[in-house]
């Protein structure tokens, strides 16, 4: 089963990289642009057919290493679940 994990900065956490991307887009003329926030996308295969078990394993991965929950939120999407 494939899991797609989206890791985003929590509200209120300064995102200088998002700001720099926004600045570059403005320079290209995208003047209707609001705030830009950047994050990470991780795709992984897991040898599991039960979606509940797969989700709980991926949640543990997020809590223990993939995300730092001091500053980041994560969102898990499972293929076919």
């Amino acid at each position: 089963m494939k899991a797609r994990i989206k890791i985003t900065l929590k509200n209120g956490v300064l995102d200088p990289q998002g700001k720099a991307i926004g600045h570059a887009l403005h320079q290209l003329g995208f003047d209707r642009l609001g705030e830009v926030r950047q994050g990470k996308f991780i795709e992984l295969d897991i040898a599991e057919t039960d979606p509940a078990k797969a989700r709980s394993a991926v949640e543990e991965m997020c809590e223990r290493v993939l995300a730092n929950t001091v500053i980041e939120n994560y969102d898990i999407e499972l293929d076919g679940a």
Binding site: V13, L14, P16, Q17, A20, V65, L66, N68, V70, I71
Partner: protein
């Protein structure tokens, strides 16, 4: 005072640290590879600067999961002094030995320069030879040194003398919240700091302001 320096793939300041420890303490420190699972009997464990695992995922995140870190955490829990400098500080926050996190520098640039640090607390084993409020020179070299923590954590740090060093407001090199440059754990035996005191310990390096951290430990542990 016996000490050990942990070496990760991508560490690059371990030699500076080994040299500084030897110069100040008179004892040759032990270098320990990150895949070891136990530590020798030492008074101080140092996590040096560098770019462990290429800063992949988040700075210090992968190194925090290295086998040796379990032993480091156990020793820290027993009260052994632990010093994390630069990447070492990032590793300590990722393992949870210290609160908060080091974000990308606010201006997004790698910064390599000298800053001024105010000794915010001198009632610690790492800063006792300094005066409270004393301003010292210290070099920094990092891309992710922008300290961040939530308000409750910051209040806890402020109220319990757990901020060891602050950048002077005019030399904050990275946007760190409340100019924080170095913090302690609750028990006071773990210090993480972004600046590199090991690079300013003898006149040939341009000054000796960083020597006090090692001299403090030597005094506390002798």
């Amino acid at each position: 005072m016996k000490s050990a320096v942990i070496v990760f793939p991508g560490s690059n300041r371990e030699h500076d640290m080994l040299y500084a420890l030897e110069q100040v303490t008179g004892h040759t420190p032990i270098a320990v590879w990150h895949q070891e699972t136990s530590l020798p009997d030492v008074d101080l464990i140092v996590l040096p600067g560098g770019f462990s695992f290429g800063d992949y995922l988040r700075t210090g995140a992968i190194a925090g999961l290295s086998p040796i870190m379990k032993a480091v955490t156990e020793k820290a829990d027993m009260g052994v002094r632990v010093l994390g400098v630069c990447n070492g500080f990032q590793i300590l926050t990722e393992t949870g030995l210290l609160p908060g996190i080091l974000l990308r520098n606010a201006h997004l640039k790698f910064v390599c320069k000298e800053v001024k640090l105010e000794v915010a607390s001198n009632v610690t084993d790492f800063t006792k030879v300094y005066d409270k409020g004393q301003v010292i020179r210290c070099p920094v070299a990092h891309h992710d040194g922008n300290y961040f923590a939530d308000d409750a954590t910051l209040a806890e740090l402020e109220d319990n003398n757990r901020i060891a060093f602050r950048y002077t407001p005019d030399t904050n090199p990275n946007g760190s919240i409340r100019n924080i440059a170095g913090i302690l754990n609750e028990r006071g035996n773990v210090l993480g700091m972004m600046p590199h005191p090991e690079n300013l310990i003898e006149p040939a390096q341009g000054g000796t302001d960083g020597r006090g951290i090692f001299a403090s430990l030597l005094e506390a542990l002798s």
